[in-house]
C-alpha cells in the first residue's frame, strides 16, 4: 500500500468533478449501513419491543440530524482543506493544539461552500446518526424513547462534534503527523473511532445507567437467555450493512485521506475480506464451542469485521485486512460471553463488543499494518483519547441526563413491553407474545 502523507491543516487541492460525483453517489448509498444496524438491533431485541426499537432508530437519526445542524456542525468545524478557520487552538510545548471546531452556526454559508466541505458535512450527518443509534440496541427492552432521543441530542451536540473535529476537522489528533512526526496523524477514514468506538462507549454508559433487563440476572444460577426475536431481520440487516459499509469506507477514503479513485476497489475488497474473515472465525468458534453455529453471534462477528475495516480498509493490504477481520471474529463471541456471564452486563445487541471493542481493534490494527513509521503511536494516542476522555464524559453527561429524563421505563412498562407501553400497539398484533416467565 502507498504511504499516506501527514494530514496538514489548510492544505490540499480542490476535488475533481469525478471525485465529487463519486463521493456523492457513495454517500447516497452509505445510509444502508445505518439501516442494517437498525435492523440488527430490532431483530436482537424482543418481539414486544420491535416497533419501539425501529421507531427509536428513526427518531434518533432525525433528532441527531436536527441537533447536529443547529449546533454540532459548528463545533465539528469544516474539513482542514476547506480553506476556512479550523477552530479553537491553544499552544503548549510550542505546538498548536486544535481542540474544538469553530464553523458557522446553523449551517450558514454551506450552499456556497466548496464541494469537499459539503460532502464532508453530509458524511458527518450520516456518521452522527450511526453513532447515536449504536447504543439504542444495547438499551433495548428498557430504554425509553424520550431518553433515547435526548441522549442522541447530547451525542450530536457535544460528543460527536468533539471527536469529529479531532479526527476529521484538522484537530490535534489529525495533526499528530505534522506536529510530532507520528506517521500521517491519527487515521480513521471510516469512523471506527469517531463513530463506532464512541457509539460502543455510549452503549456501555447506557447499560450501566439503565441496568439489566428484569429477570436477566436471577439470584441463583446462570444469567437468563433472552434470544433475539427475529434471526431473519438480524441476518438480512448484516447483508444490507455490507452494501452501506462498502460505500461508507470508500467515501471516507476519498474525503479524509484524499485517496485516488484507483485505490477505492482495494478498499472495497478489504472491507469485504474483513467481514468475511470475521464471519468465518465466529462461525468456526461457535461451532467448536456449542456444537452448532450461533446465528446472532455470527451476525455480531460479521458486523465486528465491518467495524474493524472502517479504520483500515483504505490503509492496509488485503491479506492484512483478512487477518484483522479474523481476529475481530475470534474475540467477538468470547467477549460477548465474558460481558454477560462474568461482568453481568446486559447488552442485547452486543454493541459494546461489536462497535466498541472491534472499533478499538481496527484503530490499533491500522497502526500495526500501516506502512508509515510512527503510525502505531498515533493510533494509540487516538485510542487513549477516546477511551480516557470520551467514556468518562459520556458517562457524566448521560448520568446528568438520566436525572432529567429517566432512561429506564417503569416496571409495568417493562412487563407489558415497550411497544404497548410507549406506542400503544405492538409490531405483530396478530402474534402471541411470550411472557417473561417463558424464558425460565
Amino acid at each position: 500500500m502507498n504511504q499516506i502523507p501527514p494530514i496538514a491543516p489548510l492544505s490540499g487541492a480542490a476535488m475533481s468533478d469525478a471525485e465529487v460525483a463519486l463521493a456523492l453517489a457513495l454517500l447516497l448509498i452509505a445510509p444502508l449501513a445505518i439501516a442494517g444496524v437498525a435492523l440488527v438491533n430490532a431483530g436482537l431485541g424482543r418481539a414486544r419491543s420491535a416497533a419501539q426499537g425501529l421507531l427509536g432508530s428513526l427518531a434518533i437519526a432525525a433528532v441527531s440530524a436536527v441537533v447536529f445542524a443547529l449546533l454540532g456542525a459548528a463545533l465539528a468545524g469544516p474539513p482542514p482543506n476547506a480553506g476556512e478557520s479550523t477552530g479553537f487552538v491553544f499552544h503548549a510545548a510550542s505546538k498548536p493544539w486544535n481542540w474544538l471546531g469553530a464553523g458557522p452556526f446553523l449551517l450558514r454559508g454551506i450552499s456556497s461552500a466548496a464541494p469537499h466541505a459539503q460532502l464532508a458535512l453530509l458524511f458527518e450527518f450520516l456518521a452522527v446518526a450511526l453513532a447515536a443509534i449504536v447504543p439504542w440496541g444495547s438499551g433495548a427492552d428498557r430504554w425509553r424513547l424520550a431518553a433515547g432521543c435526548a441522549s442522541a441530542a447530547v451525542v450530536a451536540a457535544i460528543l460527536f462534534p468533539l471527536v469529529a473535529h479531532w479526527v476529521w476537522g484538522g484537530g490535534w489528533l489529525a495533526a499528530l503527523g505534522v506536529n510530532f512526526t507520528l506517521g500521517a496523524g491519527f487515521l480513521d477514514p471510516g469512523g471506527a473511532g469517531a463513530v463506532h468506538m464512541l457509539g460502543g462507549l455510549s452503549a456501555l454508559a447506557v447499560v450501566w445507567i439503565a441496568g439489566p433487563r428484569r429477570g436477566k440476572f436471577p439470584k441463583e444460577g446462570l444469567s437468563t437467555a433472552m434470544p433475539g426475536h427475529n434471526a431473519s431481520y438480524v441476518l438480512f440487516g448484516c447483508m444490507i450493512a455490507l452494501v452501506g459499509w462498502l460505500a461508507w469506507n470508500a467515501a471516507g477514503a476519498i474525503l479524509w485521506l484524499r485517496a485516488p479513485l484507483t485505490a477505492l476497489p482495494v478498499a472495497a475488497i478489504n472491507t469485504l475480506l474483513s467481514a468475511s474473515g470475521a464471519l468465518v472465525a465466529t462461525l468456526s468458534i461457535t461451532r467448536f464451542r456449542f456444537g452448532k453455529p450461533d446465528a446472532s453471534l455470527c451476525a455480531n462477528g460479521w458486523l465486528a469485521g465491518l467495524v474493524a475495516s472502517s479504520a483500515c480498509a483504505a490503509i492496509v493490504s488485503p491479506i492484512a485486512s483478512l487477518f484483522i477481520g479474523g481476529v475481530a471474529g475470534l474475540f467477538t463471541p468470547l467477549l460477548v460471553e465474558l460481558l454477560e456471564l462474568a461482568l453481568s452486563i446486559d447488552d442485547p445487541s452486543g454493541a459494546i463488543t461489536v462497535h466498541g471493542a472491534a472499533g478499538l481493534w481496527g484503530l490499533l490494527a491500522a497502526g500495526i499494518f500501516a506502512p508509515q513509521p510512527g503510525q502505531l503511536v498515533a493510533q494509540l494516542v487516538g485510542i487513549a483519547a477516546l477511551l480516557g476522555v470520551m467514556l468518562p464524559l459520556v458517562y457524566l453527561l448521560f448520568a446528568i441526563l438520566n436525572r432529567v429524563v429517566p432512561f429506564r421505563v417503569d416496571p409495568d412498562g417493562e412487563r407489558v413491553g415497550m411497544d404497548l407501553h410507549e406506542l400503544g400497539g405492538g409490531a405483530y398484533p396478530e402474534f402471541v407474545i411470550h411472557r417473561d416467565e417463558s424464558y425460565r
Binding site: 503548549a92 510545548a93 505546538k95 499528530l176 510530532f180 450501566w208 445507567i209 439503565a210 441496568g211 439489566p212 433487563r213 428484569r214 429477570g215 436477566k216 440476572f217 436471577p218 439470584k219 441463583e220 461482568l343 453481568s344 452486563i345 513509521p373 510512527g374 502505531l376 503511536v377 494509540l380 494516542v381 485510542i383 487513549a384 483519547a385 477511551l387 480516557g388 476522555v389 467514556l391 468518562p392 458517562y395 457524566l396 429506564r408
Partner: protein, 60 residues
C-alpha cells in the same frame, strides 16, 4: 469504586499526552503512551467491577 475508575481514566490520557510532549525519542514515547493506556485500562477495570449489579437486581 465506579466513579474512582472513571476518574482514573483521564489521568491515563494526560500521561499519554505528556509522553508526546516530553519524549522526542520514539521508543521512550511509545513506552509512555502504552503506560498511559495501561492506566486507562486499570481505571476501566475498576469502573466495570464497580458497576456489576447484585444478583437478582434489575435496577441500578
Amino acid at each position: 469504586m465506579k466513579y474512582a475508575g472513571l476518574l482514573v481514566m483521564p489521568a491515563g490520557f494526560f500521561l499519554t499526552v505528556a509522553a508526546l510532549v516530553l519524549f522526542p525519542d520514539p521508543q521512550r514515547r511509545l513506552a509512555f503512551v502504552v503506560c498511559g493506556l495501561a492506566v486507562e485500562c486499570l481505571g476501566l477495570v475498576v469502573a466495570v467491577r464497580g458497576h456489576i449489579p447484585a444478583r437478582g437486581a434489575s435496577r441500578p
